[in-house]
Amino acid sequence: MSIFNLIRLALLALQRNKLRAFLTMLGIIIGVAAVIAMVAIGQGSKESIQSQLGNMGSNMITIMPASNVAGGARLEGSSVQTLTVSDVDALKKRATLLSAVSPVSSSRGQSISGALNWPTQLQGGNTDYFDIRKLTLQDGILYSESDVASAAKVCILGKTVVDNLFPSGENPIGKVIRFNKIPLQVIGTLAPKGVSSFGQDQDDIIVAPYTTIQKRVLATIYLQNILASAVSEDASEEAVNQITSILRETHRLRPTDENNFQVRTMAELIKTLSSTSSLLTVLLTAIAGISLVIGGIGIMNIMYVSVTERTREIGLRMSIGARGIDILLQFLVEAIIISITGGLIGVVLGITTSEVITLALGWPTLVSRSSIILSFMVCALTGVFFGYYPAQKASRLDPIEALRYE
């Protein structure tokens, strides 16, 4: 019998019992929809973590001073002063895997404009700083190389600072604000970046040349840290090794000495955070997968009932010339049609559910093509697997007994 006729016959048979066919399908529908929606939730949260961190600069590498031993006591990293501008110069010259390096000097303090004031963070870097941190200008200009060289009293304000110091909406560019006691002229404003995934307001910041902060605010020759950008996210790890060996050299550390600095990459952080959501995805998918198997067992159950119920029909078909294989294929195609139709409806329902979750709960979801293809394949296989045994049972019936079956 041709495949076209087989499908037609199967559809006719299913049509005779529409509700039952639908209920059988329901197991598969729910299973497939669950797999797709769960994977979408998992992938969505992973994607959103990655994009938020990527927003902070996914290639970013932070070099911080590390704990040092002074008179037997280990000192806290932030109180140690080991990083200097010469380290930055050495890295710029010799680290091939870095595309940009910037010294960072920062200070917390009170910013003041007229009668208004706001506690904030003053961050300083060189001209590459904006690139590394993925900061973009909203308005105005960036400070120049010569501003950095001359420790010019200029600054660029983040949106939160603008909102607090200039609440009435006047243009802050050209105005002079004070940070602690130092007057700084506003030359630009930053485009807002929002709250980071750690809950930190990324717009509560004032950026100035690092030299300005070093010389005019902190009066120090040391740096709080050094920011660098690897040529690519994948190169981050290799770049860390490079930085370590260069800095150990410039800091004249003996092989037995501990590093007096530490290097952290954003890629590392992204990996840690995504692994959590990967685990979540695996768990959710496993649960959803179980419901798919249960759906398959549902098909098997109904196919067995159907074979028993249609024993006489099978006997009749055999008596008018159906071979065992014809009967086997008939029932198998029926099972496969149930599972594939269920699978298709499940895919549609899964995608819809994901959309609804995003709309109603605001959770990020990402329907991946692989999850659709995979769950669809699994349910087609489920149809074959769970449909085969009942179909085989049907094909092995004795026509004489089947015809007399009551």
């Binding site: 019998m1 006729n5 016959l9 006719l12 005779r16 006489r312 029909e313 006997g315 009749l316 078909r317 055999m318 008596s319 008018i320 010339g321 159906a322 071979r323 065992g324 294989i325 014809d326 026509p399 004489i400 015809l403």
Partner: protein, 248 residues
């Protein structure tokens, strides 16, 4: 020249029930030539059903040869037997065995699905022709539940005819019908027989056997009597002779 359709030579069939051996057929011999209308009669337990299963290629004899239309059925595989059933035999059952919730036309088309030589167009055409032959041309789209018993049996006969078999094998085909409808079915059978169809009709009712041209009586697994019917009753006349008061 009359062609031999059935050649049954010393057929035996034994069933093994645990340690006991039940001998249902103890050596049956007969031949049927083309165009005959044979009834096989016998009481319950006479081996009628066993013989019918063997004639219908649903079962194989323990020993003896069975040649159907020149083919020795005894040495065929299961799949080959399915093909023989499809092409050479048209079954008519006591309980009609139509597919429920399926139109008359589709029921009649069923055997042609298993015949690879027939395409969709031919299938439809032949099914319609077969239903016309049993005078149900206006009921193509009716499902079995919308048809009377007699009409359902006529659909079943159309299904038996549709593949143009060499033999129609009827198993108590009038068993579920009242006298009038039985006669109608027998009239149809006689008509088909006159058109040249070979019919083997299994029954236990003597008045049905009277419509056939030959009767084989079975008793206890053996042929007890095998005789040609001298004066075949016409089912049409019998139908006309039925009192009108019966008809309500």
């Amino acid at each position: 020249m009359t062609q031999k359709i059935l050649e049954i030579d010393n057929i035996k069939r034994e069933f093994r029930m645990g340690t006991e051996v039940v001998r249902a057929l103890k050596g049956i011999n007969f031949t049927v030539t083309a165009g005959e209308f044979v009834t096989i009669m016998g009481s319950s337990g006479s081996g009628k059903t066993t013989l019918l299963n063997i004639l219908g290629c649903l079962d194989k004899p323990t020993s003896g040869t069975y040649i159907l239309d020149g083919t020795n059925v005894g040495n065929q595989s299961r799949n080959d037997l399915a093909k023989v059933r499809n092409l050479k035999i048209g079954f008519v059952f006591q309980a009609y065995n139509l597919l429920p919730r399926t139109s008359a036309l589709e029921n009649v088309e069923l055997p042609l699905f298993y015949n690879k030589a027939i395409n969709t167009h031919q299938r439809r055409e032949r099914a319609i022709r077969a239903l016309e032959a049993v005078k149900l041309a206006e009921r193509l789209d009716h499902t079995p539940s919308q048809l009377s018993g007699g009409q359902q049996q006529r659909v079943a006969i159309a299904r038996a005819l549709v593949n143009e078999p060499v033999m129609i094998l009827a198993d108590e085909a009038t068993g579920n019908l009242d006298t009038r409808t039985s006669y109608e079915i027998m009239a149809l059978m006689q008509e088909l027989n006159q058109q040249g169809k070979t019919i083997v009709f299994v029954t236990h009712e003597p008045d049905i056997a009277a419509f056939s041209s030959r009767t084989i009586m079975l008793r206890d697994g053996r042929v007890q009597k095998d005789y040609f019917n001298e004066n075949v009753r016409s089912a049409k006349e019998a139908l006309a002779a039925l009192p009108v008061s019966d008809d309500y």
